[in-house]
Symmetry: C2
Subunit: 288 residues, 2 copies
């Protein structure tokens, strides 16, 4: 496995491979890799000739109050995981190489970015859209794999790919979970033992919403109430939002037809957790 | 010469050529091609294997009050010029193909976009930055040629290329002028004979500023006064702005050292004209 730091070296590597007809797969990460990332890397590995994983803790998607400085950076362990999974290039650009003096361009997707995660984190998605566009510019992937855990992020990236004609095929890989249903996240390490024990309540809440839909509930308000009720069982978990949305536009649904995405974010102590569940309702004929 | 309309066909053409090691040159235009465009096309023709000219009157860079509907669209004449200059592909995407339902991404460069042209045209440069990024995504050029007449636009595009690592080499081609110094522009056709006769006053004003610098003037305020005085000779020409700026950042200079850009915009009747002159001051030793 090759470790590349300068963006220009990365771009030259990709250009050379494209000229040889090699397809490039890409998994952008902020490091602190866990089994969720491993699943993305394996999914990408199956769909391309050469595989790039980037490790870049992007400062522009953190707010000043957030955990940029203490975000985990276990680089040796991350490289070992990449090596074990057959990654060809581990791309580790530096912050000043990514954002040199005078950097001034912003990519935004106002329609998707203003809701949910964007409400609590106003500049987050502009940071994500900009860095992903730039990483795509350097890596020039044919396919890129993102995790479904960050569903809104994946929807945003798909929008940017389509709108700016970036020519990347996006694959959204299902969320990988701990045995008790907690979605894997690099931030889970911040949880104390007590907090960790109650963290699955978010997924339980979303699953209850999904079950209500499968049992025939259609009113967004009612499904929301079901999810809220489950979360109330754990007063230590503060709800940031719970929502029943259209999976494409992420706008709230008054009434669920065939598909919905249930989104949730909670705070436990200082840790913020997000999760989501996609629900497909069987067509009417099948339900009878 | 091939005429391509669907963006996907354009992207597929470019990808195939890149795989063959062919270099692609690109001149994005809004059509209504004149000798200024011809010069850009010839400059591009010399620096690439295959040459694409796009013709797309981009609605998002016009304000509602501006001349989108009546912008000249002499497509047959434009194609003939492209054919005569050895263009390989004339890319003519439709508005709904470029901006389908749900389009939501914006590329902005706030530092460069807020001044000068951006002041009178607040959304103009976001429209330019977004469409150029998208056109680059579809055409995937190795080099792109822009005219110096739109100096601020070229500075903005260079910023986007650098910031988003788009991998395009930008060539800024000197402004082509009529015999009397008027910068060529598709909007010159809107001028009445009387207006046309006085239009060169903008360039005369900028040339007077450049001459003052060459004669030793350094104070931005003094050079500005020289330019303003020339323009006052034509009361029919309303000054939008005149400025003495740093060529890289486009910020006003209190004192000119070795390089400056003199920028100007005026209105004559309903027509808005812009122009600029780059000044390099000889080093002190040479001046003696």
């Amino acid at each position: 496995m090759r470790i590349i730091r300068p963006p220009k070296t990365m771009a030259a590597w990709s250009q050379r491979l494209h000229r040889e007809g090699v397809t490039i797969g890409f998994v952008p990460t902020m490091g602190a890799l866990h089994d969720g990332h491993r699943a993305l890397i394996r999914a990408a590995r199956l769909q391309c000739d050469a595989l790039v994983v980037s490790i870049f803790v992007n400062p522009t998607q953190f707010a000043p109050t957030e955990d940029l400085a203490k975000y985990p950076r276990p680089i040796a362990k991350d490289r070992a995981l990449c090596r074990a999974e057959g990654v060809d290039v581990c791309f580790e650009p530096g912050v000043t190489a990514m954002y040199p003096e005078g950097f001034d361009t912003v990519v935004t997707v106002p329609g998707i970015a203003r809701r949910w995660e964007g409400e609590s984190r106003p500049h987050h998605f502009a940071g994500v859209a900009t860095v992903v566009t730039k990483l795509f510019g350097m890596v020039r992937p044919d396919i890129a794999v993102f995790g479904q855990k960050d569903f809104q992020q994946a929807a945003l990236v798909q929008r940017v790919i389509d709108d700016l004609s970036l020519g990347v095929k996006l694959i959204v890989y299902p969320t990988v979970r701990e045995q008790d249903g907690l979605a894997m996240s690099s931030r889970n390490v911040y949880l104390s033992a007590t907090e960790r024990a109650l963290a699955p309540i978010l997924n339980k809440s979303l699953q209850a919403g999904a079950a209500a839909i499968k049992d025939g509930a259609t009113a967004g308000r009612k499904i929301h109430a079901v999810m809220t009720q489950v979360l109330r069982r754990e007063p230590a978990a503060a709800v940031d939002y719970l929502a029943v949305c259209d999976p494409d536009t992420l706008t709230p649904l008054e009434s669920v037809r065939d598909r919905a995405i249930l989104l949730g974010a909670i705070r436990i102590g200082h840790v913020r957790l997000i999760d989501n569940v996609v629900v497909r309702r069987p067509a009417k004929r099948e339900r009878r």
